[in-house]
Amino acid sequence: MIIEIGYFAVIAALVVSIAGILAPLIGLKTGNPAWIRAGRQAVTANFILISLGCGSLIYSFLLRDFSVKYVVMNSNSRLPVFYTVAALWGGHEGSLLFWAWILAAFATLAAWIHWKSHPETMPYLLAIESSLTVGFLALIIFLSSPFERVFPALAEGMDLNPLLQDPGMVFHPPFLYLGYVGFSIPFSFALAALLSGRLGEEWIRATHRWTLFSWIMLTFGIIMGGYWAYYELGWGGYWAWDPVENASFMPWLVGTAFLHSVMVQEKRKMFKVWNLFLIIVTFSLSLLGTFLVRSGILSSVHAFANDPGRGVYILIFMSTVLILSFGILIIRSNKLKVKIEMDSVISRESAYLFNNLFFLIATATVFLGTLYPLLVDTLYGTKVTVGAPYYNKVFLPIVLIILILMGIAPMIAWRKASMENLRKNFLVPVIAALAGTVISAIIGIRQIYPLAAAFIVFFVAATIISDLYKNSSYWASHSGTSLLTGIWKAWYHNQRRYGGLVTHIGVLVMILGIIGSSAYKLEKTIILKPGDEFSLGHYSYKFQGLQDVQGINWEGAEALFNVYEGNNFIAEMRPQKRRYSGGSQMPTTEAAIYPRHMGDLYLSMTDITQDGWITVMAFQNPLIHWIWYGGGIMGLGVVLILFKRKRRES
């Protein structure tokens, strides 16, 4: 009964969102604000109705109602409650509903927050958000309903995919979705600006926080996916250039470009068409990301079941969004002619321009690698995949250039940088970078990419430190106080700038983690019987033996290792092999990870034979923790910007 209420609520939501498209447009046509208010009520009602839909599904999960197909497919009675709730987004159908729910929540929030401040664009915003909701709800109701029943009811469910039974996997999809869906608000504002003809900086200011919020959520989502892959999959890595990983990476790349180029429009009123273009592409790639994962059209290791009907629907949905938004952009772009022009190639404007260019090139390379197999298959019926070496070779140089720009752009003058300006800002950082590189080479870093990365990291870090020093000594002498107070003042007067620089520091830390863990990784696969020893790097590992372990809904074996550094015992490590008791009977590998300052020791037991021999993969991943720390620092930077104090407009 409960599930039918949810189903009905979602069908009602579809009807309401169609009304939500029409009402604001009628209001606009007739000039009657009551219709526009009806549009706001429609998005609010939508949020309540879809909440009911999600609620009924969660309730069915908690009741362990195995007459609901989605519950059967994604849970069983021994599944812990925590994962039972997360099972809402554990499968294809539920995750689409969850997407629609976040969309409705954000649309409602935006409608109420910006209602007073943006009366002219509001009707369009409401209509656009409602159209997106219609697109998703139609897909859910007609092609992939999570509300289907099975007759007769079953006694037991299949189980949630054991790989998903992990906190990392519980939080990874919602964060991605918050990012994807969050970009729908700047996207709608941009289209609303185009449609209403209010093409100033208004929409960018209104969506500044939405953009930052979505971007950091997407960032966290991607990092969490990597972290989860690292400790749950037992292959010692965190990123494989899998098409589905790429699907979340592409909107991140373009979103990052957008995040930077809006600043040029705020400060210099340039890049107007460009910014509209970028946000349309960002949101389209978010949609593409969702659909690539959830439609299974790619032969990915993530891919979910393929269904031709769904594929065609998704294709139509995507093309509608693309054709309409680019159509509007092209028709209106003649109104966007800007008289301000770039003064010089050596200026902050052009640094941002190149930043954007390289982010787009990066996106294009990922796009090409991800979708080329699909194209070849469609045209020639040949199946190919693009290997990771392609991405590594093409991507690394682009990333290095972007990183250099990251050091240059914030410090170079707007309009036209004089030689004086360049010398003042970059002499010290370049010297620091050269010195840092030489030191790195002396302590034993010899490969080309790590050395290049060292140069860039020292360069960017030095630009940030010297900038902070200059600003705070200015404030210190200005107010006649200490340098410490000066730092506080510099910070207080430039919260947005320094928040951004903190994010850049996070990126540097992450880059060090990526370079360290990939260039200096050690690995070994070995077969052992109890009592055997092996060594990797400075560490030796002694296999003591196997024991049985048991959890609520799984049982397995645990290998006990004593780890020594030289002759000193430093740790016990216990990699596990689990078998979940649900219908899938799927084995999983739980890696044992022992963190050390300079890198993780990582053991993953991949096989156990009947006579007690085991196969173990051992890794040593230097600096890998820095990737996660870097993500945290990036988040901190964004929080600092989001919660900056409001200062009176001067």
């Binding site: 197909k69 790989l163 090139i361 999983t588 991949t606 196969t615």
Partner: protein, 150 residues
């Protein structure tokens, strides 16, 4: 901005884009990995012997032989029409077992045996060769539900 500056920016963008495009496309060819079925592998011309490819198929029941206390194993991969022998050295993923789909990467050695040291299946239990996906995943799911019913 003067015309020459504009041309300057334009040219530098073109050069950079061209360099990267060259880098991208130049690396494309050699990093493409072809994906075959066992039947297609059987019909490969000798030119392709020793070239890295991926093969998707079902692991034949009863064919999996692990060489004790080594990382080597032998099994057969089938697409229903043709079957090829595979020798594998390495660590198979958790999901690898007889009677399920698997994708192996390696090369067809002198037209006799497929030598591999990588079996793909990193993330999802829904993973299977694309042909079988086309044949329909919903069917087995329905069978699964049926088999669970009292």
């Amino acid at each position: 901005m003067t015309k020459s500056k504009k041309i300057g920016i334009g040219i530098s963008i073109l050069i950079i884009a061209g360099a990267i495009g060259y880098l991208a496309l130049g690396n494309f060819g050699e990093n493409l990995i072809y994906f075959y079925t066992p039947s297609e592998v059987r019909s490969l011309s000798p030119d392709y012997y020793g070239k890295k490819v991926r093969v998707g198929g079902m692991v034949v029941n009863g064919s999996l032989k692990v060489v004790p206390n080594t990382l080597r194993m032998n099994f057969e991969l089938t697409d229903g029409a043709e079957t090829i022998p595979v020798t594998f050295e390495g660590v198979p993923p958790d999901l690898f077992k007889e009677g399920t789909g698997a994708v192996v990467e390696g090369y067809w050695d002198s037209g006799n045996v497929f030598k591999s040291n990588m079996i793909m299946a990193k993330h999802s239990e829904d993973y299977m060769p694309i042909e079988m996906k086309r044949a329909g995943v919903e069917m087995p799911k329905k069978d699964m539900i049926k088999s669970l019913q009292p």
